[in-house]
Symmetry: C2
Subunit: 234 residues, 2 copies
Amino acid sequence: MNIEAYFKISYGLYVVSSVMDDKLNGYVSNTVFQVTAEPARFAIACSKNNYTAEMIQHSRVFSISVLKKETRPDILGTFGYKSGRNTDKFSGFNFKKGTTGAPVLLDDTLAWFECKVVQMVDTGTHFLFIGDVADGDLLNASDEPLTYAYYREVKKGKTPKNAPTYMDTEKMKEQANSTPSDKYNCTVCGYVYDPARGDPDHGIPAGTPFEDLPETWTCPVCGAEKIDFAIQET
Amino acid sequence: MNIEAYFKISYGLYVVSSVMDDKLNGYVSNTVFQVTAEPARFAIACSKNNYTAEMIQHSRVFSISVLKKETRPDILGTFGYKSGRNTDKFSGFNFKKGTTGAPVLLDDTLAWFECKVVQMVDTGTHFLFIGDVADGDLLNASDEPLTYAYYREVKKGKTPKNAPTYMDTEKMKEQANSTPSDKYNCTVCGYVYDPARGDPDHGIPAGTPFEDLPETWTCPVCGAEKIDFAIQET
């Protein structure tokens, strides 16, 4: 079947966060949805590989921050493309500790919810965490939420490997043939890697083709990985 | 908490259909989302009161038709506001019998999927049906999907009582004070009830205030109920 069909399904984009002992973490999720109104109950699909999934299983609480349409690239980069196992994602961002103990990201957040897990469903590569709303608020009534469609089509954003909606074709697009002079765009934050300039601040001399960058090289702006870059369309 | 916070969660709008023996039915859903990519697996939240829920429990198959932004009001009215227990919702619409046996609505459909249920989760008032994609296709690459936000904010649509996102406040808005001369809009299809004209085709004489319409009266265009009308803003 034509896998473009999957891109007609609508999603928002959220930072889902949790806590374990004194560690806080969160990740960018597009699968947040209400499953019942009475009680107000949300379900989220979370990759078993996510550090946050480990935290939610342990603490049985999570928070949801609804991101606004023009969310800062570093928020998407940090929460969507870095791992909390080796980064304190919340450092440098405004957040509060909620009544459940879960951190709630406040930057670029239109509304937030805190949930207490009532069911955990193993759906294969992902858990569905189902939680009742314990607290929440509207922070910004006027701005529109960031949608997955807007992120993909306007921001040219891609889907992290852990997302339920990840498509291998996106990886394939990465492997398009290129020439040593091609510029590459960070699909997370829009930073342009220009081989003529290189990335001297991070030890990459001018004249280094994108292909020759070490696999450990990351976007100097948002921390996205090499795989998250796409050839600049000319 | 401010319940407007819930309206910042993004959803699409879909017709989810199923089959039981020789009966076909479908309903308008806003809670359709992919939960894993490998295998391609969807979850849908479905009210236990929905006739379609009964069918899915029996046949363990369902289809998803992704509605386009400018979906015909009679599709939303028929699939969203009528009950398949006493209506053949598919009569008069284009659909096909899928490989699973579930009907697939084709009118105003951008893309469709057929799923075989692999898990059923009882979340209280609703079931979560989790199904693997058996078939599907993209019918229209260029049009945008209908989103719940567009339906609510632009179309002034409301949420059926069985939706996971149903809010009592919407009911309250219905009960706003009104005068016998007030015109009322059908929030499903936009039809205007004008007391000066009445609805003679359905036995409602001119001069009948909206308040005096029998509770059994429905929208002559799309079949929405009285509760689905709102006072026309002037």
